[in-house]
């Protein structure tokens, strides 16, 4: 489901990898974290599958309905000087990688999208990425399209080594991306997913263990005072994008 929003203010400040907390139209449920899929001119959009109560409620919105959201939130992807970017998306992770793909293309980089899903029908929006100028390589669990197996197989076997990997998708996929990135020695940024409550850093519910040296969690006592070199950083605040090598999974 793709929900287009008239949201010029949001578009103005959105950067690749940002997300929003979407306020449920009817209460009783926490807001839903959704990546910002498109952000151009006056129009932003959200892309999601109707998998549970909240996304189904969002899916029943009608044209003209008002939708409350908090955003953009979080720290997104940083492209730096990358010239050859590999984007790895699993399932609905595709929702968070259009903006970085566009930014990299606009900066003149080569962009390959490695896109995996359970089955062909779930490979949504692939033409969109191709039209933008990405090379699109796909994998499906059931072999109904592209490589049969993991999308990370494609990444591991890619001939031309990227100089930056960006990834978004289910945690097992991200772990695999981190492993492959380590093996081929390419820096990788992973956009993590976790159950959120507040989405703005207020509840410490969405944490992931990081190596403490990270500059991403500055407001915590140094390692020598803890007896541990690990810190739980908030995915919603310090992330959702983290460098793969900083994670202590």
């Amino acid at each position: 489901m793709l929900v287009g929003l008239h949201a010029p203010e949001l578009v103005r400040v959105t950067r690749p990898g940002h997300f929003a907390m979407v306020i449920p139209p009817s209460g009783e449920r926490a807001a839903t974290a959704l990546g910002i899929y498109e952000a151009h001119g006056e129009r932003a959009s959200l892309l999601f599958f109707e998998v549970g109560k909240r996304t189904r409620e969002l899916g029943s919105l009608k044209i003209g309905d008002q939708l409350g959201l908090l955003g953009p939130l979080g720290n997104g992807f940083t492209l730096g000087q990358a010239r050859n970017v590999a984007i790895v998306a699993g399932g609905v992770g595709i929702a968070s990688v259009l903006l970085p793909a566009q930014a990299a293309l606009a900066a003149g980089a080569r962009v390959r999208l490695f896109y995996g899903a359970r089955t062909k029908e779930l490979l949504v929006e692939r033409e969109r990425f191709a039209n933008e100028g990405c090379e699109v390589l796909v994998a499906t669990d059931d072999g109904s399209d592209g490589h049969r197996g993991y999308v990370t197989d494609l990444l591991a076997n890619a001939h031309d080594k990227p100089d930056l990997i960006l990834a978004c998708g289910p945690t097992p996929m991200l772990r695999a991306v981190a492993r492959v990135a380590g093996e081929i020695n390419v820096p990788a940024q992973l956009s993590l997913e976790e159950t959120f409550a507040c989405g703005v850093g207020g509840c410490w519910g969405c944490v992931v263990p990081l190596v403490r040296t990270s500059a991403q969690a500055p407001s915590f006592p140094p390692a020598e005072r803890q007896g541990s070199d690990v810190v739980y950083a908030r995915i919603c605040k310090e992330g959702p994008v983290f460098w793969a090598h900083e994670l202590r999974w």
């Binding site: 209460g27 409550a197 989405g199 509840c203 992931v208």
Partner: protein, 320 residues
């Protein structure tokens, strides 16, 4: 009467607030996190995330799971410990345009007294909430708030360390919350926060693992509201000190249930995760509600639930 003429101010111990809304501990960071979305000058007080004597990494992940009309959390009091907190965090609280209430947790009477004394000494902190009811850190559900003797000891010890308003936060996971409330009052509490989360658990039926790294967690949100309203109602009949009612408040109607049940103020936790505009909306709508009924001050409706039901018909067995 005009809504702008309605007096929403409340007194909780020595704390005088223009708005009767607290933002629940652990749900609102230090207020800063929500400032981009809410005018903090339109809320009563932020209760800070609970702090302990020593730094705590907190519970393993996952720490949150959504449940019907609510959620379970098991954060486990992740915090940098009181020393670091006093040195690095507390001075920023002076900037908040609302009252800032410190929350103290611990694992022994000494812990509580120590942390309470250090924190209460700071000017940035308007009052102290004693979190003796966190369900996510104690062994076998034995928190301080589940035992009258432990409650008495810890409240007395904290009381001795400060003259600032002391709010004691009670647990619903007890047979008789009114009894514990009386104990806390006698031991010197200025006010009571009713209720903390209800203990619960959820299991992932694919992996057969608990959905929380801590196995068990605390249930919050609209699901527990009827439990919380009753707890406030019973505690209000047992003590004279003010109550900060909480548990599942999302709307003005929800808030009114707590005031009518006997709460002098309300607190919003999980509701902020549904929509951070809730506290301000409640303040506006409370004023309109009271104005429409020609009630000049919110304080006039506190505890006014009318339970004068007659039971007109009975059988022999009904007396049983």
């Amino acid at each position: 009467m005009n809504a702008t003429q309605v007096d929403l101010s409340v007194k909780v111990g020595k704390l005088e607030l223009d708005y009767p809304t607290f933002m629940g501990s652990g749900c609102y960071g230090s207020g800063e996190e929500f400032a981009p979305f809410v005018d903090l000058a339109r809320i009563g007080a932020v209760v800070l995330k609970s702090v302990t004597r020593l730094p705590r990494l907190g519970n393993p992940t996952p720490r949150l799971v959504h449940t019907p009309a609510g959620m379970l959390n098991a954060i486990g009091l992740q915090n940098p410990g009181i020393e670091w907190y006093l040195e690095h965090d507390v001075k920023k609280f002076a900037e908040r345009p609302c009252a800032v209430v410190g929350s103290v947790a611990g694992f022994s009477v000494d812990d509580y007294a120590y942390t309470c004394e250090r924190l209460a000494a700071r000017d940035e902190i308007a009052a102290i909430e004693l979190n003796i009811s966190c369900p996510n850190v104690a062994h076998e559900g034995e928190t301080f708030a589940c035992d009258p003797n432990l409650t008495a000891n810890v409240v007395r010890a904290a009381r001795a360390t400060t003259d600032k308003t002391l709010i004691v936060k009670l647990s619903p996971n007890v047979t008789d919350i009114a009894g514990i409330a009386r104990v806390a009052e006698s031991a010197g509490a200025d006010a009571l926060a009713v209720i903390n989360t209800v203990r619960g658990m959820a299991i992932d039926v694919e992996t057969w693992k608990p959905r929380l790294g801590n196995v068990t967690g605390g249930l919050s949100g609209p699901a527990i509201r009827p439990i919380a309203v009753l707890a406030v109602y019973e505690v209000a009949r047992a003590v004279k000190i003010p109550i900060v009612g909480q548990g599942g408040i999302e709307t003005t109607s929800d808030a009114l249930e707590f005031f009518l049940a006997g709460a002098s103020a309300i607190s919003i936790g999980t509701g902020n995760f549904t929509d951070p505009r809730i506290p301000v909306r409640i303040a506006d709508e409370l004023a309109a509600y009271l104005a429409a009924r020609n009630v000049a001050s919110l304080r006039q409706i506190i505890g006014k639930a009318n339970v004068g039901f007659a039971n007109p018909y009975q059988y022999e067995g009904d007396e049983g």
